[in-house]
């Protein structure tokens, strides 16, 4: 007989250490996979995790990838902490990108310091509005936000597809599915010459700080915390549940929208079909790996960003497909959930014929 029991108290230090354990288990699991594929596991892992950040350019690339991941994950932490399951950050990112990109195209050929802030703001609002769809449907029609937000991802993707192929496609672009390159005034300033790291990182860092402030120091944050732990208590305390659902979705959507607009005005510089390599979905892993804690999420975003870079290097040096990156992301989540299970529950092995516990 095996009996599974809930542990009563989990020490906070172990709670924050298990993600690190999960990362090591992922490395170990990854090593085994490389070994089975016929590579020297140590060498392969070195290509995957060390080579990409061994020079300044690589490190800048790491930050470029971590910037949107961290931003989205921070937004998602508001939703997840209050028991709202927003799975559609990818859609909110794309929609933010569409709105921001639309505004950027509107200002095509114009110059002025005010253009970029307007684009960034409109991207955030775009994401926010897109996230409000599942929130409003949940509060007023009791729909399941997981399904609605997830399905809206495909709506956003198809809309983007239509726009870059049709009305917004570059008139001089030989029918390539992409828009014009945005004007210089619509681009995120690059921080260092020759590197792609851009000013979006400051937006992310400011958002992280604000989130920490909101989550831990404000009444709204307290309400989010209570609702996440017990909806019954939140109701009893008289918190306005419906308003809160909409607010957390708005925050989350705005963050995803910002990430989208950061991508298109930053490294990409135009709209095309693939403005995001599934940042919105991967950010879910980042949020949980970072324990929904703003500081934790910063570190988690760096780790997960590395899997994107590692996959690219591995594709070049080891000729394995770049989807290996997703395998690693999947393993991180798997090992995290696995160790969480053992963290919150203990497994007791009982004798077969024992009658009494």
């Amino acid at each position: 007989m095996i009996k599974i029991e809930k542990r009563n108290d989990v020490s906070p230090s172990i709670y924050f250490l298990t993600p690190i354990l999960a990362i090591f288990l992922t490395l170990f699991g990854g090593g085994i996979i490389f070994y089975v594929l016929g590579f020297n596991p140590i060498e392969a892992l070195k290509f995957f995790f060390i080579t990409p950040i061994s020079d300044l350019y690589g490190f800048s690339e790491l930050l470029v990838k971590a910037t949107p991941l961290c931003l989205i994950a921070i937004g998602l932490s508001f939703c997840f902490k209050s028991n709202n399951w927003n799975i559609g950050a990818e859609g909110q990112l794309i929609f933010g990108g569409i709105v921001g990109g639309g505004v950027a195209l509107l200002f095509y050929g114009h110059d002025g310091f005010y253009i970029l802030p307007i684009i960034i703001l409109s991207g955030a609002i775009g994401g926010m509005i897109f996230a409000m769809i599942p929130a409003v449907l949940k509060t007023y029609f009791n729909t399941n936000e997981i399904l609605v937000s997830l399905m809206l991802v495909y709506v956003a993707k198809l809309l983007l597809d239509y726009l870059v192929v049709g009305p917004w496609s570059n008139p001089e672009g030989f029918n390539f599915p992409e828009t014009r390159q945005f004007s210089e005034a619509s681009r995120m300033p690059v921080l260092f010459d020759g590197l792609r790291i851009h000013a979006g990182i400051f937006i992310t860092l400011i958002t992280v700080f604000l989130s920490w402030l909101i989550l831990y120091k404000t009444y709204l944050g307290f309400q989010i915390k209570v609702s996440g732990l017990s909806l019954k208590t939140a109701k009893y305390a008289g918190y306005k549940g419906k308003t809160m659902i909409i607010v957390v979705f708005m925050i989350s959507g705005a963050c995803a929208g910002l990430a989208g607009v950061g991508e298109i005005t930053g490294p990409i510089g135009q709209l095309h079909r693939n403005i995001s390599p599934d940042y919105g979905f991967t950010a879910i892993i980042v949020a949980f790996l970072g324990r929904l804690n703003p500081v934790g999420i910063i570190f988690a975003s760096l780790v997960v960003a590395l899997t994107y870079l590692g996959a690219e290097t591995a594709q070049i040096f080891l000729q394995v497909p770049k989807y290996t990156g997703q395998v690693f992301q999947g393993m991180i989540l798997f090992f995290l959930l696995g160790s969480d299970y053992l963290l919150f529950f203990k497994i007791k092995f009982l004798g077969l014929k024992k009658n009494e516990l």
């Binding site: 019954k232 208590t233 009893y236 306005k240």
Partner: protein, 516 residues
Amino acid sequence: MYLYYLILNFTTIKPILMNTKLKVSEISKIYPGCIANDKVSLEFKSGKIYALLGENGAGKSTLVKILSGVVKPDEGEVFLNNESIKLNSPLDAKKNNIGMVFQHFNLFETLSVFENLSIDSDKKNEDLRLSVYNILKKYNFKIDLDIPVLNLSAGQKQKVEIIRCLIRNPKVLIMDEPTSVLTEQETEDLFISLKQFSDEGILIIYITHKLKEVLSLCDEVAVMRKGKIVSVSKTKEEKIETLANKMVGENLSAIKKKNNNFKYSEEILKISNLNFRSEDPYETNLINLNFSLKKGECLGIAGISGNGQSELFQILSGEIITDYTSIKFRDKEISKLNPRERREYLMAFSPEDRISQAAVPELKIYENVALNNFKSSNFFEKGLVNEKKIKEHSKKILSNFSVNTDNVEMKSQFLSGGNLQKLIIGRELITSPELLVCFNPTWGLDVGAINYIHETLININEQGKSSILISTDNDELLRLSDRICVIYKGKLSKIMDVNEVTPEKLGILMGGGSID
């Protein structure tokens, strides 16, 4: 003439198919803090319907859980036809032909009726279908086997559960509070079926706290109180009053200690036209409640749990907002306000579920204190948490209400039940509210904590504050209330002065009877 009688007798004798004797002997079960069953011995014979009667927490459910193999007794034995049987799991109960229909159904809502039946049957599908059809025909059940269970009414779902037992040719059928989710008509149908089963020799044990049902359905009745069997008798020899007395206990009136010296002064709360209709079959609809409360008064609301108390509490606290209901508190209409807004008007609430509703175990003590927040408390200034203020306030609660710690940073899951309840009552009372609504405030506490809470509640009345005490504990109600009424199936009895209330009267009203 004699011959005629003989023929008459022959024709009325029904074929006894089974002859079952079930005996429980000296069964004891002790849970931490309470003795659920204390040397319970009972004998049942087939052909009769037995009632097991008792209040909530009397030990009925534990006993039937032991009979159905869900719970193992600490001591004692069960005999079926004079043979000792071991009931280590529900499977053992099935092997011994003991069938059980629980209060809450164990059906898969999205599967069809037939799929539900076939899950725990080892018969082939065709055989199973045939035997189910036979049962349907025999007992005149009208259920479509191939529609999903979620389309069935509560009564039909219960029939599916009964069929599930009948397939196994049970010798014993145990029904746990079967009518709590049924309509009047469904209840009548159920009784007809149960009598039919009984005539066929199935031994029926019927668990209930409804006195009327006992008298109309059952042949013999065993009454349990506080884990013990207090009486076994034939229902013919009983009346609602006598059963009520046995169920509630006669020694209750002795512990009244209220000094009834307050003036019936101004009216502080007036509820009119309170109606609540729920989609959820496990919730109780409230029907046209009207009552009012004076300053300094404690109104007790008695009743067996599940008769609408939880819904009433949530409507009073503002967790449920209902249409058309009027709640006037100190002449202001507050029926559309949420709990936080009602607190601004100096109302306070202590819900039944102290572990997962009144407080959150994972939160620290001072964070739990911050749950009861209103403008003048200044816990949150300009949207920011004022931790210092909350902690000072929490320290005051801990010392004023003698909670057994002074560490406000401690997680409240480490508080004992009594200390947690003191913290909650303290949190609600430290703001000196004009009205406290509490629901089973001493449920599951030890004697010391109960006395402390009782003294606190008496105290607030003496200070001219009012309280509504919804409770399933009659001792408590008689001790603390100035006026008492009973809630039964979502309806409120007339409100009586505590001096004219006897435990007997309470028992009758709680079981659905009427007095005068």
